[in-house]
Every structure is written in structure tokens, then in C-alpha cells.
Symmetry: D2
Subunit: 282 residues, 4 copies
């Protein structure tokens, strides 16, 4: 028994659901979970289907058979086998709260993915990576040699052959070429409720502005800093007695949980994007 | 162009979605929104479909055609026309916050239903009903003549021919016979986070227990007091400085909003029940 | 028995609390509730004390006696009698949700203030004002005659002799001169989680950006649009299926509650400001 | 420069704040942070003061001087030096999420305390304790020899000389004698929003009841199971598609965060108890 996940995005059309579900039925698949969304403004249809299959035909055969329908309806689509865990590369810097939280979830098999490495520009996280028996790779980034260092970093990333890259407070701006190469595969946690306080020092600016809630935003990375499609957000109540430094400490809890949540949605193929927004079928 | 809403609950079976969506396609309907849920424990399947129809055939004809499929899969089902607004009867006592909030939503056409009356055991809400031009009916309930009074109340309820009855802090226990007659059609707001503090004086008991969050619960009424299927819940942070009386005031905001939310789900045919639980497709 | 409220903001100094509480003791006052806050960055101390007094001496005498201490420590301070309810002027436009909610709270004596009037640039809210027996004044604002109209509006405002002005979705930019005249006395509800989406059409922009939470912000009005000190904020979860229009409807609930909460803090003299931020002693 | 923390609970009396703050002033202390609470029902006054002191006199001398005032007003009181970190003993079983989270906070110096040991009835957590260089002690608890085993466990606890004991999903009922010996010093995390679902299998029961929010409760342990004073609570939204098993996974995040928050309040001497309730000055 296999679980296949089918993600579809296409122009809205009459009878789409009927056609797709009939196709699955014909392949002797059973629909275990299904979500639809019609973007009325863009007249675009989104679908996610979990298919329980004891098919004779393999995932590859299933995909080949689906091509006809996909073409007919001009679908962007992907189909994956839930048992094929995605390879996760974590990138961190000195902050450990998100990294430790993800590694622990990995150890306890709570992520539907496999953490294959931790890449950092500092040594600090090496010890914790070794605890969790995760491959650690350090690539320092210096101001003076940034271009060369970033190239090394990208080579190191490629060497891990990641399906998804998690920026767990990496604190460096990702080069445009990497953003494009791994489009839709780099997930960042920003320590503010975007679009408020995009860029540097969000807690400091939140404290200065006197907001009553601070936030964290998990989003896909694009070449526009902190402007990529948002996957998940959360907030935390603060008050006048909380300094920027205290907000930073308090914020760690929503950072780590929001990142883990957004990552899990991605790992379970629950996220589609459209016009810099996400459709999250959870 | 009509919008029909199809709600289905049935034993899980292979090809269900395909069959239903094919049927809709054949009737020249278009699936505008669809939600599914498989209750794995009970092997039961739930579905809600919004169908956009410019069918020649009417709702009645559509329903008749569906009977065959419905029988084959042993479905509990209902199909309704979204333009047929449900008749809402509000029942209140002396508290006005929920009642005023609902009446105002009615006035601003924010409820997908039509408020046809306000029934109370006291005079206090009469004035506000008149403001909103809603029929007011008083049926006093006295301890000494409770049985007779309750019979009068039930007659008054029937006279409004309601599709849904909203207990907006009515404060009287609904007779079993009425619970059964209007099963799945009476919605109550309980002023606690059920199952905590079921029964009387929940804020007093919450204050005594020293909880750090208070809540409100919108649920269907059954003959078991405060034990019916929960539609919606919400909570609010409190602390040691909030007395029971202050909690009661603070709680009014989540009471009115949670009630309005649960009611709206019901009015939009988004709620199915199974084993004293709800499936809410929102 | 009277309740006096003393609000103090001053440079931090050794023995401040001792001096003030000793003074209150000497006046035969009893401290019923007290809050302190030290802004470490600005070395500024904030205090709010509720004093239970069966003093022979009046509020005026108490205030005169306090002047010596106040001067010594360079205090900004105010002392008020809790039984002297503030005069509230509501300003609205066409949206009714905040206005109706405030009027209803007024009717039920849930606001520690007295609503003395409703001023609007449209007729729509006239009926609801009459229901609640609140003085209604219409001052139309036209693009062509904005300056003259605004002058009329300000005259109308002055005529109500308000202690606090509540912009309940008034939708017009308040002239600078009025902002200054009523500095710290005009409270606005902005329909976004500021600083995100300051200015016009916040729900539309929130939907376009694809945020996962929408918000509302209650703040003091200054001459810088949507930049005044924030009193209270709240958020609400949304997802991809919620259009800008639906967000607008959903947002009404947090708008009305956040506004009422922020207003109540102000009415209870719980808010001090410092450097465009608030200290809220709740 | 030292920070002393003074916690007071006593019958309400005229001039209390003045007397205490005058005393501190006389000892050349400076009040850095102060919170008061008057429990009107029980006529009891609660106070927490953070005193910045460059006193010549030590904590001991300060305490001795305070005795006179304390007696006069029948105070329950304690004064501690903030630099004297409390000794934390963590007790766990097989679940690792709370334990790993606490150990990590310990490593990053985010807890105002010192983790001195991890005691468990199983081996599973041994490895993680060794990573964080925390003393691990296993005391198995068998049904057949429970009394003897519990005695061994209590000896092991005593050997760590803990100031506070954290039950991080320990899953065993603490003997009454231990509850009494460490009264007000044992903190538990219960995996439900108490008083709902006290006792065993709360997630299973939450799923059966069909609640729309699940919770976690951090409370002091008393000899009445899950009935001790609540320090902190939080909730998480769930829906019909979340099984008991999924709720259990989702709930881990609020369990670990709520426990850490409640523990931190305790470590910072922010919690007083009264009649099975807490006053939390945060």
C-alpha cells in the first residue's frame, strides 16, 4: 500500500474534479484526503489529493498516464510518493533555538523528512550537530571575500543534494543565483510579523514602535529580501515592560514553532504558490 | 445561476469522490468548493460540495436524480439552495450582548439567514428587538408553573417556524421533547471552555479554580445539558487580578463572537455531526 | 469613599515609591492598586496608583498638596476622581460595527465613560444613534470644500466638549490642528496590524501579500497618519481561501473589540505615553 | 550591586506600601520593579518588589531588619538574592520534548536557574542528559514494587538537593509525602487545559469530546492529582481532522513552552499562592 500525493494548479475549468477523481478511480487509487481551492480573482484552480494505492502500476507509470489529462487542462502538477522522505539541509549561524528544535524533531521522527546536514558560517552549532549525528559543514562568510565565500557555500549546499533548505536564523542574504536554482525549496524564518519590520533588527524596531504583539514569519525565499510567499505566521503578546532584548528571547519560541510548522507543511506537499502567495492545504 | 450545497455522510467506499463529482458534472453543475473528511476510526466519509449550477433542472429534480447514488452508498445527505435563507429564532433572557450583536449582524446582512423573531422570558430585550424591527415574544417562565410555561414557550417557538434556534444566553434548560424535535437545530453559547465548568456559574468556578484562560463554547443542544456536539470555541487570557465579575464582563466578547461564528457555519451548511462531534468544513 | 487615580511620569530617582506612598498615607489615602514601570533606556519612571480615600480633603486639596512633591521630582502627573466619567464623542462614517458595539456597551454601563454624541459625515448612523438616545450630528465632508467642511466638523466637535474622541472607522484624515488641540485624546481603530498596511485599503493589501493573520490596532492619533502611540492590538487567523472582502468582514470583530478595549484603558486612566509608545497599566 | 526579590502576602492593612517602601528606602535600596495585588474577597494583600541594592548590609542583615515589620503586619514573606540561582531537578519518563527543550534553555542560559540533574524511570533520556552534561539518575518504578521504588526515587530526589522539581511528563503519581515535603516546589505540566481532562489520556478524551482547542497546564503539584494551583496555561486550535494521536503531537509544542514559561516565573520568584490559586506578577 502506497500513499501518493498529487498537487495540481491550473486554469479553472468545468468538470476538473470529476475528471481527476475518475482518473484516480480508473487507476484503482482511493482518495484518502482531498482539498480544493478556486482563486476567483485569477480564475485558477488548486487541488491536493492523497491517494491510497495498491496499484499494480508504479508511481512512474501513474505519472505517465496522468500526462494526457495534465496537458489537456494546462496543469502545473507534481506527484510524489509519501514514503520518499525529502532531504532537508539546515543552515544556521550562531543562534541555536531553531536548529536544536528541528534536530530534536528529526530525532523523534516528527518531521516527514530526513535531515541530511547542518551548514553554518560559524563553529558554534557543530557540537549540537554531532549530538544528533547530523553531518556538519562550516563555510565561513567574510565581508572581504563574500563573493568567493558564497560560491563555496553554494557548492557545499549542492553537495548535500537537498530537496529543501531551511534557513534556521542563517542571518546571511542568499545570493540571487541560489534563490533561483532552489526556487520554492528554500524556507526561511523571519523574526517579525511580515510585512512589518522586514530586514534587520526587527525586535529592536518592534520595541521602538511600541507594538503590542510580536511575530514570526515562515516564508519561501526569493531574490527579494523578506518578500517571498508566506507559509505560516504566528504572534505573541508583549507589553511596555518588555525590552527589545526580552522580545528577542520571548520571540524564539514562536520562531522555532512557526518554522517547524511551515517546514512540515512543505514536507507533506501541502503548499502551492501563486502570485507570491501560498495556498496551504492543511 | 444558483449555488447548491450538498452535504454527505456515509460509510467509506472506493470511488466515492469520483462517483459524486461525475454525477455533478453530468448534471452540468460546477464544483465551486469541496471539502472531504475521512473519519478513520469510524470508517465514515464526510463531504461538502458547493455546486454552481445553471442547470435547466431544478433543485428538486437534482435531488431526485441523486437518490439512486445516495441509496447505493447508504448516504445521509442533504442538498439546499444557498439563496433560501434559513429562518433564525433567537431566544434570550436578560443579557443583551449576544442578542444585540446578532441583531446588528442581521441588520447589516452579515448572517446568511433571516432573523424572524426574538423570544424571551423577560421584557428587557423588547426594546432592542423593536429597534431592529424583529418580532418580540415574551413567554415568562416561573418556577411554580414551569411545565405549563415551557409548553407555552414551545408553542411560541413552533409559531415562528424556525429553521434554527439560537440560545443567546437564554439561561433556561430546554425540555427534552424540544431538544428532540429540533435536534441539530438548536445552537447554544455556553460561557465556559467546555467540558470545563459545564452547568451553572462557570465564571465563578473559573475564578475559584484560578484558570489563566476563560472560554466560550458554541454547541448543538441535546437533552444532556452542555454535552452536545461542539461547533466552535474560543478563549481569552485572564489573570489573578480578574474577579469572577470581571471575567464575566470580559467573557461577553468571546461569547458573542463565538456564537456568531458557530451560527454562521450552521447557516452555511458547513457543519455535520457524528458521534456527538462535529465536522466543520470552513 | 472616593477612588482617585494618580498617574505619574518622571525621571527615575531614588526613593520615589517611598515618597509617593508615604504622601498618600499621610493624606489618609489607601493604595488599592499600584503599577510601576521603569523605562531603563530613557531612565524614566511611570506609576499609576488607585487611591481609596475617605479623606476629609477634596481632590483639589489633595492635588494642591501634591504639587510640592511633583515639582521636586519633575513629574508629569494627573490625578482624577474615578466617579467623574469622561465625556466620549464617537465619530463614524458609514461602517456601523464599531459604533453599534460602543453604543451598546454605553447602554449597558460597560464603559467607564459617558457617550455624549455621535458625529458623522453621512446619515447612515443617525438611526442607530437615535435608538441609543445619543445626540447625532452630521457634518458632510466634500472633496471640493474639504477645508471649510473640516472647520465645521471641528466646531461641531468642540461643541460636544469631549474628554475623548473615538474615531470608530471615521475614514477621514484628521486636520493637524485638531490632532494638536486634542493631543492624547483622540483614539483611532486602524484595520490592520500596524505598522503593516498603514494607510488605505489594508485588507486588500493584506490579501495581496498573503499574510496568515490579519489585525486591528487601536492607537492615539497624531498628525502623522497611523503613526501614533499604539494602545492595543489583536489578530485573527486567515488563510488562502479568504478574499480581501471576507477578511474585511472577519476583521470587524477584532476591530470593534480592540477599539473598545483600548478606549476602556484610556477611560480608566491606564495609559501613559512616552516617545510615541504607550505604557498600559492593565 | 545586588538584586533582591521580596515577596509578601499578608492581611490587607492601611499604609502597607508606604511602610514597606519606606523601609527599603531607609536600607538604601532602590525599587526597580514592583507589583501589588489586593484579593478583595479574602482581604489579602500581595506584593513583589525587586530591590536594587548597593547596601553595605548583606541579604541576611536586610532580612533580620525586616522581621519587625513582617511581624507587625503578619506577613508571609521571603527575600532572595537574584544571583543565587535555584537548583532545578528535572524528572522525566520516555517523552523527550519537554526535557530536551528545558535542557537546551539551560545550556543557552535562558533559565534563571541551574539544572542539577535529570531523574527518570527509564533509560531513554540518558543519552540526551549526557549531551547536556547533566547528571542522569535512573530509578525504575515497577507496579509490583511501587512503594519501595518510590522510596528510592525520593531518596534520589533528596540527593540532588533541589530547590525546584520539574515534572517534565514524568507520568507517575507523586507520593503524598513528597508532595508535602516539597510543597510549592514541584511543578508539573499537564497535557490538557485543566480542569478539563484531568487524569489519564487527556488527548484521547479531548478527541472524543470533539473540542476545538487543546491545551496545556503548568501547575504546582499537591496531593490531589491535577488539582494544584495553576501557574500558566495555553491552548492550540484543532479541528475534526486531527486524531487523538495528532493532537498529542501538536500538543507537544504548547506543553514545552507552557512548562518553560511557568518554570521561569517560579525561578524569578514571580508566583505566590493563595487558596489553591496563584498570583503571578509578570
Amino acid at each position: 500500500m502506497s500513499i501518493y500525493r498529487l498537487l495540481i494548479s491550473c486554469p479553472d475549468a468545468h468538470g476538473l474534479v470529476a475528471k481527476v477523481s475518475q482518473f484516480i478511480f480508473n487507476q484503482e487509487g482511493n482518495i484518502k484526503e482531498a482539498h480544493h481551492h478556486l482563486d476567483e480573482q485569477n480564475k485558477r484552480f488548486f487541488m491536493r489529493i492523497e491517494i491510497e494505492s495498491n496499484m499494480a502500476c508504479s508511481l512512474e507509470e501513474f505519472k505517465q498516464a496522468f500526462v494526457v489529462l495534465a496537458k489537456q487542462y494546462q496543469m502545473n502538477w507534481q506527484m510524489s510518493d509519501a514514503s520518499q522522505l525529502k532531504r532537508i539541509l539546515i543552515m544556521g549561524s550562531k543562534s541555536s533555538h531553531c536548529v536544536a528544535d528541528l534536530l530534536h524533531r528529526g530525532l523523534e521522527n516528527e518531521l516527514e523528512g530526513k535531515i541530511v546536514g547542518l551548514l553554518s558560517n560559524h563553529d558554534k552549532l557543530k557540537k549540537i550537530a554531532s549530538w544528533y549525528a547530523v553531518d556538519f559543514k562550516k563555510v565561513p562568510i567574510n565581508k572581504e571575500s563574500k563573493e568567493v565565500d558564497m560560491a563555496k557555500m553554494m557548492n557545499a549546499v549542492d553537495a548535500f543534494a537537498p530537496d529543501v533548505i531551511v534557513l534556521a536564523r542563517y542571518m546571511q542574504i542568499i545570493p540571487k543565483s541560489m534563490c533561483e536554482k532552489y526556487a520554492g525549496k528554500i524556507i526561511n524564518i523571519h523574526h517579525s510579523f511580515l510585512p512589518s519590520f522586514a530586514g534587520a533588527s526587527p525586535y529592536k524596531r518592534a520595541a521602538e514602535r511600541g507594538v503590542k504583539l510580536i511575530g514570526a514569519t515562515c516564508h519561501y525565499v526569493t531574490s527579494e529580501l523578506d518578500e517571498g510567499p508566506i507559509i505560516e505566521q504566528d504572534v505573541l503578546r508583549v507589553n511596555h515592560s518588555d525590552s527589545a532584548q526580552e522580545m528577542q528571547k520571548m520571540g524564539q519560541d514562536i520562531e522555532k514553532i512557526t518554522l517547524a510548522k511551515g517546514l512540515q507543511y512543505h514536507l507533506q506537499d501541502r503548499v502551492l504558490t501563486c502570485n507570491n502567495k501560498t495556498v496551504v492545504f492543511n
